[in-house]
């Protein structure tokens, strides 16, 4: 299973995962991680633990381009060929990820899910 990690400031990721559950019911393979009170080094350790060992692939969702979660995710993506990273997470994007991950090739998933995220933003 392709897994997801929602890595954000404070309790934002927890709220995203809770909301996904309220739409789709209890889900496997989606975890949240907060950067609260962590140094850059500790954030990397926590993210490595959340991503876990190499498998079918992991997509990290962060919220703020340039933020510490984004930076840590970019650093790990650089080291791991099985890790992808999307920033600017929204609920439309996460729901698409959960619904499409079983039927979409890992290499196509990021572009597809990002598209759903874009289409969820309307002026």
């Amino acid at each position: 299973m392709i897994r997801g990690v929602v890595f954000t400031h404070d309790s934002l990721g927890e709220a995203f995962c809770e909301s996904v559950g309220s739409f789709l019911g209890p889900q496997e393979g989606l975890v949240c991680l907060s950067n609260r009170n962590l140094s850059a080094e500790q954030m990397m350790e926590a993210l490595i633990a959340a991503v876990g060992p190499e498998g079918e692939g992991v997509v990290i969702f962060s919220a703020l381009f340039g933020g510490s979660c984004w930076q840590t995710s970019e650093r790990l993506k650089r080291e791991r060929s099985d890790v992808r990273h999307i920033t600017g997470v929204n609920l439309a994007m996460l729901l698409a990820f959960m619904n499409k991950r079983e039927e979409t090739a890992f290499d196509d998933l990021v572009e597809m899910v990002t598209g759903y995220g874009h289409r969820g933003i309307k002026p």
Binding site: S39, M43, L64, G66, G67, W70, Q71
Partner: protein, 164 residues
């Protein structure tokens, strides 16, 4: 212009700095003074790509930071300087980069460090470097975000210092 803020933050340039302090102080340039980051083209480019619109980002080694900042200040730039830890702050000060206030913005927990505030943890080496700066007249002011209550680090430390 001048050094608008000299900040210790072990996350260096991140959202709290660009969005929080940056929107209040409106610097012309963020300077990341860090030998590790300055030694990696990838890290330098990463920080540079996160610059808010209209703001420059420079990633420098500690040894080149003082001279470059003086040049930019002479050129009327407002600078927000980011330093990873108290030891690096002392290194910059001893090399001639003068500042009157040092913002303690984020120094997180690790083995041997004791928590002073939710965002400030210190070990004995940190204290020694900060005491050195204080003895040179530098005010060490704790504030993670711009609109929080400013706290004097050594008042926060109180009797805790002897236990670190």
């Amino acid at each position: 212009m001048s050094l608008l803020l000299v900040r210790i933050d072990d996350r260096l340039l991140h959202g709290q700095v660009t969005q929080g302090w940056g929107s209040v102080l409106k610097p012309d340039r963020f300077v990341v003074a860090n030998d590790t980051a300055a030694g990696s083209d990838w890290e330098k480019e990463m920080y540079e790509t996160t610059a808010p619109e209209g703001v420059l980002v420079s990633v420098l080694s500690l040894s080149e930071t003082g001279d470059r900042i003086r040049e930019w200040i002479e050129a009327e730039e407002g600078i927000l300087l980011l330093i990873e830890n108290p030891s690096d702050a002392l290194t910059l000060y001893r090399a001639g980069l003068m500042f009157e206030v040092l913002n303690m913005g984020g120094l997180h927990h690790r083995d041997g460090r004791k928590r002073i505030l939710p965002y400030v943890c210190l070990d004995s080496d940190d204290i020694v470097a900060l005491e050195d700066l204080r003895d040179h007249g530098v005010m060490i002011e704790c504030a993670d975000v711009p609109n929080c209550e400013r706290k004097d680090l050594f008042e926060c430390l109180g009797s805790t210092a002897s236990g670190i």
